[in-house]
Point group: C2
Chain length 120, copies 2
Amino acid sequence: MSKQLPLVAMDACCAPLTREPLTQDQAVELSHLFKAMADPVRLRLLSLIASHAGGEACVCDLTDAFDLTGPTISHHLKVLRESGLITGDRRGTWIYYRVHPEVLARLSAVLTTTGEAVTA
Amino acid sequence: MSKQLPLVAMDACCAPLTREPLTQDQAVELSHLFKAMADPVRLRLLSLIASHAGGEACVCDLTDAFDLTGPTISHHLKVLRESGLITGDRRGTWIYYRVHPEVLARLSAVLTTTGEAVTA
DNA sequence: TCCTTGGATAGATACTTGTCTAAGTAGACA
DNA sequence: TGTCTACTTAGACAAGTATCTATCCAAGGA
């Protein structure tokens, strides 16, 4: 923990998919992020954290929302953490997680179709 | 083929992740789309198709861009097709694929962070 | 110091997935 | 009809992953 996020996707991957083909490296970078979100539990975790009051949520709040054991939730949080989508910091007894909105925004930008003539 | 796309994600999943938590059903729907994109080959296929002149590309164009066998490309195209991200139609000898921009746009909207106070 | 609670790590197992080779299907052309 | 090309399907196998139980670490309170 507190192993800071790599921010791998911060300079790779830029232009929208509809504008120009991804390079191999960009595709690999992006695929890690999409893989982190390619699970219903992690998507719900992400949305629970992102939409929580104050922009952060403690693990105890998150665990209650699922019919899964603690270690499983912990595993999913680790995947999200290592992908750079969230960070957690301990404050006293509890650990609080928050999202990195700039990573979400970057993904959103890659998928955008505005200003494109993709439908020919 | 020509088995029309389910468009599964067209009414599920709407509000941005940062605005409100996803329901279980929404998360499952979305995870299928993200899973389809959670592979470098499929991401590149998607970007090659989406950014190709005319908004569509024939499989022969796509296969040449990878060091993979035809069946493997075909498999990835099937995953993209079944997720509703692309459709293919045969015209004479060749099969042309094009993206569904509205599905990409929907994903982009789910990830957007604009107008949110997510960083508290 | 010991105990309790919040959360992570380790290791095992069942399931999923990316890739291949081999075989099949669909259209074009002679 | 037969053959060639373009692409898909079927089946197998190695690698990855989601989940569990058991265990461990950190912080707080008696």
